[in-house]
């Protein structure tokens, strides 16, 4: 394992400390328990809180700030945070108008946020939770833990954060997040496995000509192991999987082509070129796009594609000013 780190046990703490230093104008990183809040809360606003395992940076801590998240609780590498930091984050994010949890659908995240919500309720904080499950790689059936929450989360956090900033109430925000969750779909492709610092081992082994199609963001295996193929073919297959599953054919859409951590920008743009070409081909309209590494899996190589169906209102929320470590415009 070759990584820029000191001790695997210090990795999350060191990275957060560096993050705190680098973005002291936007966030504050608290310790015992560890969570991240924006520097200045907007009084009276509904708090939007997320969190989950570390190793997916900039998700979630990089999206704390004006117009997006009020607080985030980062767990250990690929491990949901415990209820304590979520509760502490909730208390800070609560400005009298309640708190919305945006939770990626993993058993651990769901359970720990659930406990935090119960504890917050006991303190008189109104909490609503929306579980995000955008990964079409996983069947959403009674026989699985349900679809996973992956890169589409960023799109939801941005839009819900903007709606919170404009003053929407807790129930309206929960409804919006629920609606967004129903309109976003993603799928991931790994061409190289991540190495978890603690074990020093790759999460899975790929032959030189193999890839993992439908990969999760924790190195959980996907739909199938298949042969490596040209980028256009991979993009086509990913897009098809998303289009097969997305409700409404997404005539107006926001597209996210996301890097998994070890994939350089040029390769992501190669994938995006094809996605855009194909969407044009079926008459869809890309209203906005993001191409970059926003939801990573440590040093996994590969990409994911997310599509979100949008209308004018969602677009204006997307365009609203945002100032976070990893997403910033309009201010």
């Amino acid at each position: 394992m070759k990584k820029l780190l000191n001790d695997p046990r210090r990795f999350v703490a060191d990275a957060l400390a560096g993050f705190a230093e680098a973005h002291a104008d936007i966030v504050r990183v608290q310790s015992s328990p560890v969570f991240v809040t924006r520097l200045r809360m907007s009084a009276g606003k509904v708090g939007v809180v997320s969190g989950g395992g570390s190793g997916h940076e900039p998700l979630h801590v990089g999206f704390v700030g004006h117009g997006m998240l009020d607080a985030a609780a980062p767990g250990e590498i690929f491990t949901s945070p415990t209820p304590d930091p979520i509760l502490a984050a909730t208390r800070e994010a609560h400005q009298g108008a309640g708190v919305l949890y945006l939770v990626k659908n993993y058993t651990g995240d769901v359970l720990n946020f659930e406990t935090a919500a119960e504890l917050a309720a006991m303190e008189g904080i109104a909490v609503r939770t929306v579980v995000i499950d955008d990964d079409v790689a996983v069947q959403n059936s009674e026989f699985t833990a349900g679809r996973r929450g992956v890169a589409g989360t960023v799109l939801i956090e941005k839009i819900v954060g903007a709606a919170a900033e404009r003053g929407d109430g807790l129930d309206a925000l929960a409804d919006l997040a629920t609606r967004l969750t129903a309109s976003v779909r993603s799928i991931g492709v790994a061409i190289g496995a991540p190495t978890v610092p603690h074990s020093g081992k790759q999460s899975f082994e790929l032959a030189p000509d193999e890839i993992e199609f439908g990969i999760g963001i924790h190195g959980e295996r996907g739909r199938a192991r298949v042969g490596m193929a040209p980028a256009d073919e991979l993009a086509d297959r990913a897009l098809e999987a998303v289009l097969d599953d997305i409700p409404r054919e997404g005539e107006r859409t926001i597209v996210l082509v996301n890097g998994m951590g070890a994939t350089p920008p040029a390769e992501l743009y190669v994938v995006y070129r094809r996605i855009a070409e194909r969407l044009r081909g079926i008459g869809a309209h890309i209203e906005r796009s993001l191409v970059g590494s926003y939801v990573t899996s440590l040093d996994m190589a590969g990409f994911s594609v997310s599509l979100l169906s949008v209308d004018d209102e969602l677009l204006s929320l997307w365009d609203a000013p945002v100032r976070t470590a990893a997403l910033r415009w309009g201010m």
Binding site: E76, I77, T82, P83, T107, G108, T115, T144, A145, H218
Partner: protein, 211 residues
């Protein structure tokens, strides 16, 4: 040995060292069909548990130890296993609250309550290839022993054997809960890491009673 507070502390202490010893293997099991952190998670949790059990109050009951264990697991493990084991030990504590010495029926009640907690929070049933398979097999075996009027140690031993069989039984299952459920057929042939850690924990309970 009588199953008193000292036993409960011994259980968790032994569990902590067994988990520490086998964290690598648990991690490997999780790497195969999950995300590889189960050994690390459990080790972090039981290290915290052990630290908080160094000065147990004189008048503490077994339930207090179980409750402390639960709270430490909830606040230090994270992931799926943290809240599930946390709930299990909370319910277990509840099931034996007020008891200073546990008999065979108490042990059965403790295990059964733990299982109920996990099933309820995880919405999992036996056969879903989770820690529930190990707990359920442990409870079945413990019940058989208790019905034969075995003593507490015998009930614990039966539970430990049951948990081990339950864990082994997950090898051939498809997973319906947890991360392994994404894998479909590809999970078959692999042991569920949570079931494996349950087997370690319940074996520690019996061994603590034997010592």
């Amino acid at each position: 040995m009588i199953l008193d507070t000292a036993w409960a502390v011994a259980w968790m202490t032994r569990a902590a060292s067994d988990i520490a010893e086998q964290a690598g293997e648990l991690g490997e099991l999780d790497r195969a069909i999950g995300d590889g952190d189960h050994g690390e998670n459990m080790n972090r949790g039981f290290t915290a548990v052990r630290a908080s059990l160094t000065d147990v109050a004189e008048d503490a009951l077994p339930a207090d130890v179980l409750k402390t264990t639960a709270m430490r697991l909830i606040s230090s493990v994270g992931g799926a296993a943290g809240p599930l084991y946390g709930t299990a030990f909370l319910r277990a504590a509840d099931a034996v609250s007020g008891r200073a010495h546990l008999d065979g029926d108490d042990v059965l009640a403790l295990l059964d309550a733990g299982l109920g907690g996990i099933e309820e929070r995880g919405k999992a049933s036996p056969g879903d290839k989770t820690m529930v398979d190990a707990w359920a097999a442990a409870v079945d075996a413990a019940r058989g022993a208790a019905e034969r009027d075995a003593d507490a140690l015998e009930v614990l031993r039966a539970a430990a054997r049951g948990a081990q069989h339950g864990a082994e039984s997950t090898d051939r299952l498809l997973a319906h809960k947890g991360r392994a459920s994404y894998l479909g057929e590809r999970a078959v042939g692999h042991r569920d890491p949570g079931a494996a850690s349950t087997a370690i924990l319940l074996r520690a309970a019996a061994q603590a009673a034997e010592a």
